[in-house]
């Protein structure tokens, strides 16, 4: 069975760019890209993801809240916060919930590493 990764960001450009740069992984990975936490939760409810990568600041539910809920629903899903914020405050709160904290802009290689080595 293929592995699955879910990307959540309110910026379509970012999602599209992710889709493009991770094209090489499509053979082994099923990838979903959604624009909001609500859509993400819907998907998580129906499907098991190995990894979820989410933005922090989004309209409605933010990335941390999303990951907190994902942790309850699907504790084995690897939770990655890819945040444009740099406040230590966010980082402090995130520590309890996330498995990896990445700052935008990050090298796409960082995400590939997570996909390749951590799973």
């Amino acid at each position: 069975m293929n592995k699955a990764i879910l990307f959540v960001d309110d910026d379509i450009n970012l999602l599209d760019s992710m889709k493009r740069s991770l094209r090489s992984m499509t053979k082994e990975w099923g990838m979903d890209f959604v624009l909001s936490a609500a859509e993400a939760l819907n998907l998580v409810a129906t499907k098991t993801y190995n990894v979820i990568v989410t933005d922090f600041k989004m309209p409605g539910m933010d990335g941390l809240e999303l990951l907190r809920k994902v942790k309850e629903v699907s504790p084995l899903t690897k939770r990655v916060l890819l945040s444009g914020q740099s406040e230590a405050e966010v980082y402090e709160k995130a520590r309890q919930i996330v498995d990896r904290y990445l700052s935008k802009p990050c090298d796409i290689e960082e995400i590939l590493k997570i996909m390749r080595h951590d799973y």
Partner: protein, 681 residues
């Protein structure tokens, strides 16, 4: 007074004769009228005498003792004395001792025995007239003095000394007292006259214990003494003068000086109050922790307190009385003069916020000065009060606070901008990455097509299409694109990596947690600071770093340490630029290293710039000290840096510098410094 002389100068008198023997009275009348006197009447009884006196008052009465009627001559004379005061001369043959005694008690002017002898009669008249004249003069004189005595404002006492058993003054009998004294005592005359002094003035002994000694001296040595007495009964003060009035008698004049004494007492009291107030004012002024200088309108220093002494190094003795403008006060005189002129002009207090001054150590500072006009009750300008405080420290703190706020604002802005930039940067990187990878495949395909095209050559049926492709390839410079597109993408990715790095470095300057120190990697702070400041140094210097990877994270305020490093790096770049500008070298070198040393983490920043001049080495950490041109430096960089390192982190900042060779600054931060709230627990 009756004129005893007529127009010819003869002594003549009006005489009334009281005589029951008509023969004798006729005889006397003849004698008298012959001598030029006028006999006004002749009466035979005491009862008729007074009617005659009233009818025509005589100068002299010749009185027989045995008369008609009940009243005898002595009795009549007594009444004359009491009611009229007319001199009486007795004319009688009576020599009864009892009657003679009575006669004497009526103070007669003369006594003539019968039979009347002309010479005796006339000489008696003459003597009586003289005596009467003298008595009248005396009486008038006494009346005059009595009037004065009664009407004078000063109280007067006439005392008769009563000596004690030892013969010295013991008390006095009040023989006479004037109206003023009676008023003072608020009593009746009869209660005073004839009483003892101590009985009237009951508080004498309490007033002045040695008054007896004084009165004794007045009475025996005829000295005059003056002293002050208080009469409790009427709450009055008297200036008393005691005079000798002949042996055994003392005259006392008491001048009511109550008003003077009370006024003087009030004066003394207000003087005392004034002195107290003055002393309190002096203490108050001395205790003021500010410079206080009084200046008169003539430019003279009138007040110079201890703080002024301390701050300007001029003692009050040196300053007071001198012209202020001649004193070597290290303040900006133009500001002060302008302030004073505005103070005069606007007639109001002038506040000068930042007056630059040079302190005794030659350091720069600021004074906050208030100039107050001093006016008298009429509003006329008397001078100025210059009140000043050394506000250097406060200004430093304000500037540092301002700097902190600026940094915080920059941090917040950087953080906000970073967020806005980070997401697009992320997808531009992603897309470039995608393009880079895709282009490799795309290029491979292109090259393969290219090779097939070469093999097919111009023989095939697609000749015209092939030619078109060839033309297009030449137009686009196909080989160039193949080579340059991957490089363009790579360089773009490189540029974006640098943008990302700068944005991340800027975050180091933000204050995510302003109140507490955090564990931070000093090497990262150094790297970030170098990234941020690159524009400052890259044209004049190369930067080398020698960072010890083993140094531990230190508890610190990372943004503030960054600021210190930024200051030092910018200063190093400026020092190098001076050498570069003079053509000394083409490019300088800044070396930044970190290492552990004796429980501290040290950061060393060396440059091969111009170096610091010997004579300013002592002052480079002084606030507001700068060697840079106006507008280039505020003179607060090193002062604030020192404050951050020393005051906020308990570290040290030192330097070595050789003019013409370069400078090295070393910052040392305690390695195991813990955040304050942890220390508290």
């Amino acid at each position: 007074m009756t004129d005893l002389r007529d127009s010819t100068g003869k002594k003549t008198a009006k005489i009334l004769i009281v005589e029951d023997d008509q023969l004798i009275s006729f005889h006397m009348k003849q004698l008298l009228e012959t001598a030029g006197h006028i006999v006004t009447d002749i009466v035979v009884s005491g009862e008729t005498l007074f009617e005659a006196i009233d009818r025509n008052p005589p100068d002299i009465i010749l009185m027989d003792i045995i008369l008609e009627g009940k009243m005898d001559g002595v009795e009549a004379a007594e009444r004359v004395n009491g009611e009229y005061g007319i001199p009486v001369i007795y004319v009688t043959a009576n020599s009864d001792p009892g009657i003679l005694r009575r006669v004497e008690n009526t103070f007669p002017y003369g006594y003539i025995s019968k039979p009347v002898n002309e010479y005796e009669l006339l000489s008696s008249i003459k003597t009586a007239l003289y005596k009467q004249r003298m008595e009248k003069a005396l009486l008038e004189s006494e009346l005059k003095y009595r009037l004065l005595f009664e009407h004078m404002f000063d109280a007067f006492l006439y005392l008769q000394v009563i000596n004690g058993p030892d013969g010295s003054f013991s008390d006095a009998l009040i023989v006479e007292a004037n109206e003023a004294l009676i008023r003072v005592l608020n009593t009746r005359r009869e209660k005073v006259i004839g009483s003892r002094l101590t009985a009237v003035f009951k508080n004498m002994d309490r007033v002045k214990n040695d008054w007896r000694t004084l009165f004794d001296k007045v009475a025996t040595d005829e000295e005059t003494h003056r002293f002050k007495m208080y009469f409790k009964e009427t709450d009055q003060w008297f200036g008393v003068s005691a005079y000798s009035m002949g042996r055994g008698y003392i005259g006392v004049i008491a001048d009511n000086v109550t008003k003077t004494v009370k006024y003087q007492k009030r004066l003394e009291e207000s003087e005392k109050n004034f002195k107290t107030a003055n002393r309190e004012m002096h203490n108050l002024l001395s205790s003021i922790d500010s410079i206080l200088i009084g200046v008169s309108t003539r430019d003279e220093v009138t007040h110079w307190n201890a703080v002024a002494e301390r701050v300007f190094g001029i003692t009050a003795v040196e300053a007071i009385g001198g012209r202020i403008s001649t004193l070597a006060i290290g303040w900006e005189w133009d500001d002060i003069f302008e302030g004073i002129s505005i103070c005069i002009h606007k007639n109001d207090t002038v506040v000068l916020r930042d007056v630059p001054f040079t302190n005794l150590e030659g350091g720069n500072g600021f004074l906050g000065i208030t100039i107050n006009p001093i006016r008298d009750d009429l509003g006329i300008l008397n001078g100025f009060l210059i009140y000043g405080r050394d506000i250097t420290k406060r200004r430093m703190m304000e500037l540092q606070l301002l700097q902190d706020q600026k940094l915080k604002a920059i941090g917040e802005l950087a953080s906000g901008i970073a967020h806005e930039i980070n997401t697009p940067t992320q997808y531009v990187i992603n897309n470039l990455d995608f393009l880079k990878q895709s282009f490799v495949g795309l290029m491979e395909i292109c090259l393969r097509y290219n090779s097939i095209c070469g093999k097919v050559g111009s023989a095939c049926e697609y000749k015209s299409e092939m030619e078109e492709i060839d033309n297009r390839k030449r137009e686009l410079d196909f080989e160039f694109l193949l080579e340059e597109i991957p490089r363009a993408v790579d360089q773009s990715l490189d540029g974006l990596a640098r943008v990302s790095k700068i944005i991340r470095s800027m975050k180091s300057f933000s204050h995510p947690d302003n109140d507490n120190k955090v564990l931070a990697d000093i090497n990262k702070i150094i790297a970030d600071t170098l990234t941020i400041s690159k524009n400052e140094w890259k044209y004049v210097a190369d930067v080398e770093t020698e960072l010890d990877e083993d140094i531990q994270e230190v508890f610190c305020f990372p943004a503030e340490i960054s600021q210190v490093l930024l200051n030092l790096i910018v200063n190093a770049a400026h020092a190098i630029k001076e050498v570069v500008d003079t053509g000394g070298i083409e490019k300088g070198r800044i070396t930044v290293s970190s290492f552990r040393e004796n429980g501290t983490v040290a950061i060393k920043i060396s440059d091969n710039g111009i170096g610091i001049e010997e004579d300013v080495k002592q002052r480079i950490f002084d606030p507001f000290f700068t060697t840079k041109d106006v507008g280039l430096g505020t003179g607060q960089g090193l002062a604030i840096s020192r404050s951050i390192v020393v005051d906020k982190h308990g570290g040290s900042i030192n330097f070595q510098s050789t003019r013409g060779a370069g400078s090295t600054f070393i910052i040392r931060l305690p390695e195991n410094q813990e955040p304050e709230e942890m220390k508290d627990e």
